[in-house]
């Protein structure tokens, strides 16, 4: 590799920052994480120059800043979920939008009093007019439906490899959208209105005009999911996924039940996608099939790949870039597809492993030092 160009070494140094932090002691890490988190919480109100320049609503027709933040957090959830499938298990899923749609439609169908499904249930069981399922009940329901969808898609297709899997999953994404558009029980092309918002003591807490609380909600969900996914990453499960990604046959011979773990990756990815879709539908207050076009799938894949497949932080960064930059530089809107294409090609050429490639590194530093010393003493 041509590691000699100065530009590259700078990139490399930047890319090394997350892994440096990974090795930092607890008393550095914890306050740092808290600091970053509080900054994220404060972001909607950011008004101090020069930092305020990152806001997207400085110009008259700019996008609402909180809405952009919400979308970034939402797509970060998507990226974390898709990173499990593509980055860790190495399964190219081009139909991820399907799971996003499943999540969105789950809450719309069961949570909205206007949906044909709740109406049918209400009529069947003699429930009062305007009955719908509670928001809190819709969350596990959406996750379950997504898990089932993930298994239904995965069980027959996960025996396929590489390109074949990509094509089949792409078909799945389209099928979901087309079914939603052409069925009467999903509201057809018009979609479903009155998708509920999360319950809050104050009626106005989650309103659609001031979106920053939605952003906080998405941020909280994101943080919890990152925490959970990192637990998986550094466990038997995460290692099994990587092993499958690296060499499926060798993994199988080392005792990894490849099919089972691939199915798990699919199911977990599906449920994270569904959680994002649920948040999206809830904030929009309505769903329609056109919101789940195929190109959204490609956008999701681009997030994971640009950031550096296999690294959560890379995926987050990819999601940030792809969501934020077009909003911030709206004035160049007509150039967007071109800039996007050029950037993708440039990254693929200059840094095929992504901006922040997956650096598997030492954990539990204390234990590590001890082990390394033992090894040295032994040698």
């Amino acid at each position: 590799m041509t590691d000699t160009t100065p530009q590259k070494s700078v990139l490399k140094r930047v890319a090394a920052v997350p892994s440096l932090l990974g090795g930092a002691p607890q008393w550095v890490k914890v306050p740092l994480i808290l600091l970053v988190l509080s900054f994220c919480v404060y972001l909607p109100f950011l008004n101090i120059l020069p930092f305020a320049y990152i806001r997207t609503d400085l110009r008259p027709n700019g996008s609402d800043w909180s809405t952009v933040l919400f979308t970034i957090a939402l797509y970060m959830i998507v990226a974390v979920g898709l990173n499990v499938v593509i980055g860790w298990a190495g399964l190219l899923d081009l139909g991820y939008v399907g799971f996003y749609a499943v999540g969105a439609y789950s809450i719309a169908l069961f949570g909205s009093p206007a949906s044909p499904v709740t109406k049918a249930i209400a009529a069947q069981f003699g429930l009062p007019e305007g009955w719908s399922m509670a928001f809190a009940a819709c969350i596990p329901l959406a996750i379950c439906i997504a898990l089932i969808a993930g298994v239904i898609l995965g069980a027959p297709t996960l025996r396929l490899r590489g390109d074949y899997l990509a094509i089949v999953t792409m078909g799945f994404g389209e099928i979901i959208r087309i079914v939603m558009r052409n069925s009467t029980w999903t509201g057809g092309p018009a979609g479903i209105i009155a998708v509920p918002e999360p319950p809050a003591a104050d009626e106005d807490f989650f309103n659609t005009i001031d979106v920053h609380r939605w952003y906080w909600l998405a941020l909280a969900v994101l943080v919890i999911l990152i925490w959970l996914m990192r637990r998986l990453e550094h466990s038997r499960v995460g290692r099994a996924w990587l092993a499958i990604r690296e060499d499926e046959d060798a993994a199988a011979v080392m005792g990894v039940n490849a099919f089972k773990y691939k199915l798990w990756a699919f199911a977990i990815g599906a449920s994270l996608g569904a959680i994002a879709g649920l948040l999206f539908a809830s904030k929009q207050a309505y769903v329609e099939p056109n919101g789940f076009q195929l190109n959204l799938s490609f956008l999701f894949v681009a997030m994971v790949v640009i950031g550096g497949s296999g690294n959560i932080w890379g995926a987050l960064f990819g999601a940030f870039l792809i969501t934020y930059l077009p909003e911030r530089f709206r004035e160049f809107e007509s150039w967007r597809p071109l800039a996007f294409g050029v950037a993708l090609v440039a990254i693929m050429v200059l840094r095929p492993q992504g901006l922040f490639p997956n650096r598997r590194r030492a954990r539990e530093l204390e234990d590590r030092k001890h082990e390394a010393e033992e090894a040295a003493a032994d040698a």
Binding site: R231, D247, A250, V253, M254, G255, V256, R360, D367, E371
Partner: protein
Amino acid sequence: MPEQTIPESTSVQDAPISDSEVLLTVDHVTLRFGGVVALNDVDFEIRTGEILGLIGPNGAGKTTCFNAMTGVYKPTSGSITFDGTQIAGSKPHQITALGIARTFQNIRLFPEMSALENVMVGCDARNKTSVLGALFRMYRIWGLPEEDLPRNPVRRALAKVIGVSRHEVEERRSRRKSWELLRFVGIADRADELSRNLPYGYQRRLEIARALATDPKLLCLDEPAAGFNPAEKEDLMGLIRRIRDRGLTVLLIEHDMRLVMGVTDRIVVLEFGSKIAEGAPAVVARDPKVIAAYLGEPDAA
């Protein structure tokens, strides 16, 4: 939550070593790839505690034999019995669980994982943590020995109260075992390096460590000395003997006759998918059929 202790991974170290006990039987195994008969009615046994050599000219079917034994290919006919279980046609991970491990002729490590992680994947074959166990860590264990507790004093005190999750215990034990195995094969000094960056000899030995990590009863080595210089081959012979001394049975494919003769107890010779000889190294080496096979003369049979 129930108070539980999990046993240290069972090792075969204290298994009785007797020369008569049969560990694996390959019984009239035939394996065809379309028209190619890669294995033709092959028949042999591996006895517990021995080092068995599997030799033969290129394309004789040695690797195919490994693949049939480890579930990569299903034999067209015949049966393979390991430790009393019929394994022909079982899935590779099931066979690993029963206790057969192998290395590959063309190295197949997990290139983007560190040496240590490669070995830990092997250890995971004996671990129990599930997806939900890794996510929520509800399966707690109390009354663990000191070495299985966290090193951090605060966490250590806490562990006395809330126990330690099975995930954590297994991680710690696996890491310890992996380090031990890396030292055993002599590559612990580069444990943290990505395996693709390791030198060739290290990669070969890492494959052995990874296979050993699955706690096998039978270890199958496919040309482990390929590309080694004489000094490295000498080392490898020592390593193979030490593996046997740990109580394992070893099946060795190797082209280097000096190595095979030096380390094996018995040898099986394949040619064109058929077994042409079997016996003690000295006897096999004098067998005219074997000599003919190796000199490339047309087979009289």
